[in-house]
């Protein structure tokens, strides 16, 4: 069904397309998720870094303030004991600047501020390290760089705040992108699923429709086959009936022809004796034409009528036999072909002895479930043929063999006889047709009979031969004959 095939192709194509799309979408979502996750992680890391920098800035300010405070206290107390906190604060300041420098190593703008911070810190430390001076001056001196530090760090902080805002915004952007990608993939998957589902449903419906159509077609086909078979059976039985009636009714007038020909023969005999007598007594009264008519023409005519009617009788009998063949009930049974063939050979032993033929049976022959009479008749006809058409004066050599080919059985009858021209291989199986030199009696019935029987037993008969090369007739039959009407019996 070309329509079904096209639909199937279409379905397969669209299914492949949808599956490809689906896989592409899944791959897309995995890759984009990975990429977005990586980007997100980086942003998170950067935000954390910014927080770190900010806290370090605060620590720096604290350290700076602490140093200034320690310096102030030392200047007020003027005690040696206050040198300790001062030194600690100084170290703290240096350390926080170094740490900040390290943290902002990736940021050139922040980095640019580090030397400034270091310088100011150094100034503060130098002032703090100086011997005690006037409190006001010292305080002011120390206070200024401290303010400077505050201003610089505020700028740094502002910068970091900006970075934080930017990075947070980017992270949000990435997240949004992630969700959009996810949503899109979901939509794609839903669309693909819907399409695939629809396609499959359409296709299933199509298949169902086709299956139903096929079932209907099958049913129709079965009915058509049954109808045809019935028709053939009817035609066949009609032909058989026809053959029977024809041959039957043809015989009736033939009886008359033959009967009255015999009457004429009797009359001719009387006439001949009358003529004999007349020729003896009054030869002068008889015209020579009359003598020819009585002595030659009449017997000749009668002879021709007789041979023709005899032949016609044989032909009609042949048709009658063939028609009976078709009407005969087939009775299949398990047959041991060795026994069957041997039986046939035994019935032909007179002919075999006459011709001096050598008959060989290639035992064992296969067993077959078929009609005994049919097989006997076929083998007998083939063996008779082989006996009849030997090569010259040499005694015929006949070999009967058999083998199983799958569920079929082959029985072959081979001879070394005169052979049959391949041109006549089909012809010899026709009724009343013969081949080669017509020097043997026969009506061309035997092989027609064999073929009719083979057909009747659901088989065939084939011929392999060439002129002067002998002939091999092979009967092919099902191993297990199951009548076409009845179911096979176990």
């Amino acid at each position: 069904m070309p329509q079904g095939q096209a639909a199937q192709r279409r379905f397969r194509r669209s299914l492949m397309r949808f599956m490809g799309l689906g896989f592409a979408a899944l791959l897309g979502v995995v890759i984009s998720a990975g990429v977005l996750m990586a980007m997100n992680q980086r942003q998170t890391r950067l935000i954390a870094h910014t927080y770190q920098v900010q806290s370090q800035i605060i620590a720096l300010r604290l350290a700076s303030t602490r140093l200034v405070a320690a310096n102030l206290r030392r200047n007020q107390d003027l005690t040696i004991e206050s040198e300790g906190p001062l030194t600690a604060a100084r170290t703290q300041l240096d350390q926080s600047i170094a740490r900040l420098a390290m943290l902002t190593a990736d940021n050139p703008r922040q980095q640019a501020r580090i030397p400034l911070l270091t310088a100011i810190a150094a100034q503060i430390e130098v002032q703090a390290g100086l011997p005690v001076q006037g409190a006001l001056i010292t305080g002011a001196l120390v206070d200024r760089p401290n303010n400077l530090i505050f201003r610089i760090t505020r700028a740094m902080q502002t910068h970091e705040d900006q970075l934080l805002a930017y990075r947070s915004a980017r992270q949000h952007g990435i997240e949004r992108g992630f969700y959009i990608a996810l949503g899109l993939t979901g939509l794609l998957l839903v669309a693909m699923g819907t399409l695939t589902f629809t396609t499959i449903q359409t296709y299933t419906r199509e298949i169902d429709a086709q299956r139903q159509a096929l079932r209907m077609a099958n049913t129709g086909l079965e009915a058509a086959v049954q109808e045809r078979t019935a028709e053939l059976k009817r035609a066949n039985s009609e032909i058989q009936r026809f053959a029977y009636i024809v041959s039957h009714d043809l015989r009736s007038p033939l009886v008359n022809v033959m009967g009255f020909t015999a009457e004429m023969e009797t009359a001719t005999r009387t006439l001949t004796s009358l003529l004999d007598k007349a020729q003896e007594e009054r030869p002068d009264t008889i015209a020579p034409a009359t003598v020819t008519i009585i002595r030659e023409d009449l017997p000749e005519a009668i002879r021709f009528i007789r041979t023709s009617t005899e032949k016609m009788d044989r032909l009609i009998n042949a048709i009658l036999r063939l028609s009976r063949l078709g009407r005969r009930e087939i009775a299949p049974e398990w047959l041991d072909m060795d026994t069957v063939v041997q039986g046939v050979i035994d019935t032909l032993h007179m002919r075999i002895e006459e011709t001096g033929a050598q008959v060989e049976i290639a035992s064992p022959l296969p067993r077959i479930f078929s009609d005994r009479m049919g097989l006997e008749q076929m083998i007998a006809n083939l063996v008779e043929n082989a006996l009849k058409y030997g090569a010259g004066a040499a005694p015929p050599q006949i070999r009967i063999a058999g083998r199983a080919v799958g569920e079929h059985i082959e029985i072959s009858v081979a001879d070394q006889g005169r052979g049959i021209d391949p041109r006549d291989h089909e012809r010899v199986f026709d009724l009343f047709r013969r081949s080669g030199q017509q020097d043997r009696p026969g009506e061309g019935i035997g092989l027609a009979h064999v073929r009719a029987l083979a057909y009747r037993l659901d088989g065939t008969v084939t011929l392999d031969s060439a002129l002067g090369k002998g002939a091999i007739f092979t009967i092919h039959l099902p191993r297990h004959h199951s009548g076409s009407q009845s179911s096979p019996q176990p």
Partner: protein
């Protein structure tokens, strides 16, 4: 007078539609030296009428021998055979079936129905004549039962 006559002279009733066959059969019966009266009937209807209803027919008068052809234009000879063999007074009248059929089933069927002899009409004239002559011999030997008594 009539009763006495029929006791010994058997009427041959020939049921045969083919005039030629009828003539040949008659000729050969005569040639075989049989001079019995031959009544020729050429269809089944006339044959049944004669056998069952005619005053000189076998049912009402005298013994008979029936030569029956199976292929008749108006009915099958088998039907006639069946009717003859199912009639009490005709049951023992010999029936010779003479036909071109040598079908085994048909022959068997005729014997089953009570036919006494079945002769296939051979086309070979000599055989046919011989068969009829044998029939003549059969006719002269056979004890035909008196249908009337």
């Amino acid at each position: 007078m009539t009763t006495h006559q029929t006791h010994h002279s058997v009427t041959i009733i020939m049921i045969e539609d083919d005039e030629g066959h009828a003539l040949l059969i008659e000729k050969n019966i005569r040639r075989a030296g049989i001079s019995n009266e031959i009544v020729h009937l050429s269809n089944g209807h006339d044959a049944l009428e004669f056998i069952f209803n005619a005053p000189q027919g076998p049912l009402h008068n005298g013994p008979a021998l029936i030569l029956l052809d199976l292929n008749l234009p108006d009915m099958s000879g088998i039907d006639i055979l069946t009717k003859i063999k199912s009639e009490e007074h005709l049951r023992r009248t010999p029936v010779v079936v003479l036909t071109t059929t040598d079908d085994k089933h048909e022959i068997e069927r005729c014997y089953d129905l009570g036919c006494n002899v079945y002769i296939t009409k051979p086309v070979n004239y000599e055989n046919f004549a011989a068969a009829i002559r044998q029939l003549g011999l059969f006719l002269s030997v056979i004890q035909v039962p008196d249908a009337g008594l």
